[in-house]
């Protein structure tokens, strides 16, 4: 998995990317959330992929998750 190459600018990660990235220009760079087999298949094809060690939000508490979705930026 590619390590952070350059030091990200000190901007806080509050600003979300403004312009959407193209999907079909060049090989995809993938974040895999779920079955890790997919990440391994992509890595085997030499694709840049990062696996998220996912777990249900708010430890699966549905009410908290709903509150979070209304509050998270």
């Amino acid at each position: 998995m590619s390590k952070t190459s350059e030091l990200p600018p000190a901007q806080s990660p509050l600003e979300v990317k403004a312009t959407p990235v193209s999907l079909i220009q060049g090989s995809p760079r993938v974040v895999n959330v779920g079955l890790s087999g997919f990440a391994e298949a992509l890595a085997a094809q030499g694709v840049a992929v990062i696996q998220v060690d996912w777990s249900p939000p708010a430890r699966g508490d549905a009410d908290l998750a709903t509150l979070l979705s209304k509050l998270s930026d």
């Binding site: 952070t4 030091l7 990200p8 000190a10 806080s12 990660p13 509050l14 777990s55 939000p57 708010a58 430890r59 508490d61 908290l64 998750a65 509150l67 979070l68 209304k70 509050l71 998270s72 930026d73």
Partner: protein, 420 residues
């Protein structure tokens, strides 16, 4: 983007800006009563959220009895304890008076406190002087040796330090901590580098202002022998940095984390002075020979103010030796802990960087929304006190802030922003 989320984004951006813009400087040492005018007869400030005598743990009670005798409000420990039980003393958290204190965190009128001023916003924060290791007041020690040391701090070390600091323009702490980080300190369990850097910048002023050679020798050897001397200064610095971040409407950034040996409490910028508490957890760590988990006292102290500004457990990657020592895994795991803390913070402090992470800034500004969403609780490096008063430190380890504090804070923030 709905207006609530807009409010949150702007409020948190302001909270982060204030936290990173702070300019903490150690300027003076004065008697606590001078720094905190409300600190009168029979008033005892303690670590952690508010707590009554009945619910206090062993070491906290030991410290209260000891300090009452020290201040002359009772002539022996039993009398002091009886007075406390009868409600003769007024117990308030350090945090309500711009103060912090390690472990039991006793702050009373005559004790000397170090003064750190945040020159970006003008506020000041206070913390007593670190007594060193072994049988000490912060671990609930209260025998004659403890009280004599406190008297020496009050009568000799405090005034001398104050004079030395006043004779110079004070010690700028941000760059000192930056160097400490590159030398393996994380400012909670390990302060040996910063303590040495501090002594270097104090020794000339001390020599010139302290005329008496024998007193100077005792002062220098006391500071030089205490690896954790800088801890109390780091804590006052943390308080000076976080106080201006309080009361920003709609901000979900944590401004205080603290424990009193019974409850773990947090405060959040957008929620005023309300404490969100949960039962404190047991640290998990390594014990000095002859001690084990059965001897440990539950987690205690205002020292988690350093984690609140991105140091301590959050800067574990800077101090692999600590990771190994406190049983938080192999030194190579230290980086993992800092990476994980980045999941629950909004920013990285560009002035406090960690060489092992290609000079990435320490993870700063804990966001209660991210804590609740990821289920990752802030990781705290802590000393472990013996559960009987007066024995002292029995180990060091790591402890997690209870998630319940952050969940109840999130519900409160939702209510305050009209979101249920």
């Amino acid at each position: 983007m709905s207006d609530v989320r807009q409010v949150l984004r702007e409020a948190n951006a302001e909270a982060v800006r204030r936290m990173l813009a702070a300019e903490p400087v150690l300027i003076d040492v004065v008697a606590a009563a001078d720094a905190i005018p409300e600190l009168g007869e029979g008033m005892i400030l303690h670590a952690g959220p508010p707590i009554s005598w009945e619910r206090m743990c062993g070491p906290m009670r030991g410290a209260v009895a000891g300090i009452a005798v020290f201040e002359g409000w009772a002539n022996d420990l039993d009398a002091a304890a009886a007075l406390a039980a009868r409600g003769a003393f007024q117990f308030r958290p350090n945090h309500d008076f711009a103060a912090v204190g390690p472990m039991t965190g006793m702050t009373t009128a005559s004790q000397p406190v170090m003064v750190v001023e945040n020159q970006a916003s003008g506020n000041r924060a206070f913390c007593t002087i670190n007594e060193g290791l072994g049988k000490v007041m912060r671990f609930g020690g209260n025998d004659a040796s403890v009280l004599t040391r406190l008297a020496w701090l009050r009568d000799v070390l405090g005034p001398a330090l104050g004079m030395a600091l006043r004779s110079s323009e004070g010690i700028e702490l941000k760059s000192l901590v930056a160097r400490g980080l590159t030398m393996g300190d994380e400012m909670h369990q390990r302060n040996v580098a910063c303590s040495s850097l501090l002594l270097r910048s104090l020794v000339a002023a001390l020599a010139s202002t302290c005329g008496n050679r024998t007193i100077l020798t005792t002062i220098l050897s006391f500071i030089a022998s205490n690896d954790q001397f800088f801890l109390n200064i780091a804590m006052a610095m943390g308080k000076a940095i976080t106080d201006p971040v309080r009361d920003i409407k709609g901000a979900s950034v944590v401004t205080a984390m603290s424990r009193n040996g019974t409850d773990f409490g947090i405060r959040v910028s957008g929620l005023g002075d309300e404490w969100f508490t949960a039962p404190v957890e047991m640290p998990d760590g390594l014990y000095f020979p002859g001690f084990s988990a059965v001897d440990a006292n539950p987690d205690m102290g205002d020292s988690t103010i350093v984690e609140t500004i991105g140091l301590g457990g959050f800067a574990m990657a800077a101090a692999p030796a600590v990771a190994g020592f406190v049983g938080a895994g192999a030194p190579s795991d230290a980086a993992h802990i800092t990476h994980t803390m980045r999941e629950i913070t909004l920013a990285e402090n560009p002035e406090w960087t960690i060489p092992a992470l290609d000079y990435q800034g320490v993870p700063t500004a804990i966001d209660i929304r991210r804590v609740v969403e990821t289920g990752i609780a802030p990781m705290i490096n802590t000393g472990i006190a013996h559960r009987e008063p007066g024995v002292g430190q029995v180990g060091a380890g790591v402890v997690r802030a209870p998630l319940a504090c952050f969940e109840s804070a999130l519900w409160a923030l939702g209510k305050r922003l009209g979101v249920t």
